[in-house]
């Protein structure tokens, strides 16, 4: 999945630093969002819907045989798709323990998203992170 996006979180942080202003960074997020593989319409159900976002967001975590997760998520808004891409770069391909041990807030702060997203959009991002962590946490509860 990370290869589909053709970049790493480190490269993303570098690119963000390189881009001069937030207009360009949002444009970059939009481009990143365009690369995100879309969810199938049949997956856009209430069960997978992440509430607390202004835009519509759906998110699934598919467990792999090696214990890691492939995250599939989509939104009807491109900037949100870009944020989902960032989320994927942070969490995709990790196992439950690694996901719960990853502090995404530090990465968001490095990207400046904590200051430059609107408060409602920040809440939306937080809802997505919470969903990823909750689904990872559930899998540990189920296997122990």
């Amino acid at each position: 999945m990370t290869t589909i996006l053709d970049t790493t979180i480190e490269e993303l942080i570098e690119n963000f630093e390189f881009l001069g202003d937030w207009e360009e960074r949002f444009a970059y997020l939009i481009e990143l969002g365009k690369k995100l593989p879309p969810l199938d319409e049949t997956e856009m159900t209430d069960e997978h819907r992440v509430h607390g976002c202004q835009a519509s967001v759906w998110l699934r975590m598919l467990p792999q045989t090696n214990g890691t997760f492939n995250i599939h998520a989509d939104s009807d808004a491109f900037i949100v798709r870009g944020l989902i891409a960032v989320l994927l770069l942070i969490y995709n391909g990790k196992n439950a323990k690694q996901i719960l041990g990853t502090d995404s807030t530090a990465t968001f702060a490095q990207l400046g998203l904590d200051k430059h997203l609107s408060p409602t959009r920040r809440n939306g991002l937080h809802s997505m992170v919470s969903r990823v962590r909750a689904l990872a946490g559930n899998s540990i509860v189920q296997t122990t």
């Binding site: 202003d21 207009e23 949002f26 444009a27 939009i30 835009a55 519509s56 900037i79 609107s118």
Partner: protein, 415 residues
């Protein structure tokens, strides 16, 4: 100043009025601010800011019962504001003006007092399909408590007009009709006078949500012929946290209290109390005195400009925006083509409304995007969100053109 005539436009230097609004003189994200979210909240002229400041610097005290100079001044400011608002709405008397926190509280007050006393099982409350959540949810709560039911006057579609073909039948079934004067999502101006006249003929009580109209056009409760009317201060250049409910005196006299506390009583014993007369009966606790003083100053300011002139200016800007937006291939533009207000809602074929508003903000243009507290209507129209530009008298033709220019620039990112 000459009001409402053809010479108004020449006489009025709209651009000059901007100097009265310090907040407009700033850059946002490196660009001059173009504030087009006036349907959500308006900006405040310096005179209103000064009124709040003066109140706290010179006149602040509790109202009504104080026996000292400052309390007298605060009481005069508060009750003077009530008198001025009665004149602004052309109400019969100041006793018909209740201060609330805003339109939402005003509507909840009617639902919880008049509604509790008069609505019962099997009764019908008639609304329209374009109501703001604040004129829908209070009635849903009342319905849940009483076993009454809701019925809706349909919206015709994207043009945002009401389908009144079944109105007589709907009114025959209804006990109360509550509707928005101007739609915050569609920009349509509903025929308030006709709706209230026909409701009255059918013996139906009327409530008008004037949140989007009270500061934009003439709102005369006697001409409209409504029983109740609600609006907010912050949308008409006044402070936040102060609003108004107008209610016909005979109706107010029959209504039970809203909240209990000080101010709303005449005599209190341990086990029971007798209540004050309207409007005080509905204003428990220390009121928002500074807010009332600020609101009074705001309506003085609006009346100097003239609401007819403001409405003409609104319509000129909305028309200019709509004409240019209509040139975009595949755009879905909401609201009527004729006689619309200052609210312009639209959906682009390629860019999501939220993305559009985020990128416009990067260029200093403040738009609204989302469901505009109007989820059922957007669901009916089949759109998850619209982008909305809403104008006020301090907006200029140049700002409309800048908004259009930014829309064109931002769109390129999404194709």
């Amino acid at each position: 100043m000459n009001q409402g005539s053809e010479t108004t436009q020449e006489a009025m230097d709209w651009t000059k009025l901007r100097a009265d609004f310090p907040i407009l003189e700033q850059t946002v994200n490196g660009h001059p601010l173009v504030y087009l979210d006036n349907a959500a909240s308006s900006q405040k002229p310096q005179v209103v800011i000064n009124a709040l400041r003066t109140h706290y610097e010179r006149d602040n005290a509790n109202v009504h019962r104080g026996i000292h100079e400052l309390s007298n001044r605060a009481t005069e400011a508060y009750e003077g504001a009530r008198q001025r608002i009665a004149e602004y709405l052309n109400a019969d008397s100041r006793e018909e003006i209740i201060f609330t926190r805003g339109t939402t509280e005003s509507l909840n007050l009617v639902a919880q007092t008049w509604g509790a006393e008069n609505i019962g099982e099997g009764d019908t409350i008639l609304l329209t399909e374009m109501e703001h959540h604040s004129n829908l949810v209070p009635w849903q709560l009342l319905v849940k408590r009483t076993g009454a039911k809701l019925e809706f006057i349909p919206v015709n579609g994207d043009d945002g007009t009401l389908d009144l073909s079944q109105l007589d039948e709907q009114l025959d079934r209804a006990k109360l009709l509550s509707f928005t004067h101007i739609s915050n999502t569609m920009g349509s101006v509903n025929p308030a006078t006709e709706l209230c006249r026909r409701a009255r003929e059918a013996g139906v009580i009327t409530v008008v949500d004037a949140a989007q109209s009270a500061g934009h056009t003439r709102v005369d409760v006697r001409e409209i012929g409504c029983d109740f009317l609600a609006f907010s201060g912050h949308k008409i250049c006044g402070p936040t946290g102060i609003g108004v409910l107008y209610g016909q005196r005979e109706l107010l006299n029959t209504m039970p209290p809203y909240q209990g506390g000080g101010e709303m009583i005449t005599k209190v014993e341990y086990n029971e109390s007798t209540f004050n007369e309207p409007p005080h009966k509905f204003e428990a606790g220390t009121p928002n005195v500074a807010g009332a003083a600020g609101l009074r100053t705001a309506i003085d300011y609006l009346d100097i400009i003239g609401r007819e002139a403001i409405f003409e200016h609104d319509q000129r800007l909305a028309k200019r925006a709509c004409e240019q937006l209509a040139e975009i291939d595949g755009i879905r533009l909401f609201g009527p083509s004729e006689g619309r207000s200052a609210v312009v809602s639209f959906v682009l074929p390629d860019a999501h409304a939220l993305d559009l508003a985020t990128m416009a903000d990067q260029k200093g243009v403040a738009l609204r995007a989302g469901h505009h507290c109007n989820q059922p209507l957007l669901a009916k129209l089949g759109v998850p969100a619209t982008a909305r530009a809403s104008f006020y008298f301090y907006n200029t033709e140049a700002e409309v053109d800048r908004f259009i220019e930014v829309i064109h620039q931002v769109r390129k990112l999404f194709v």
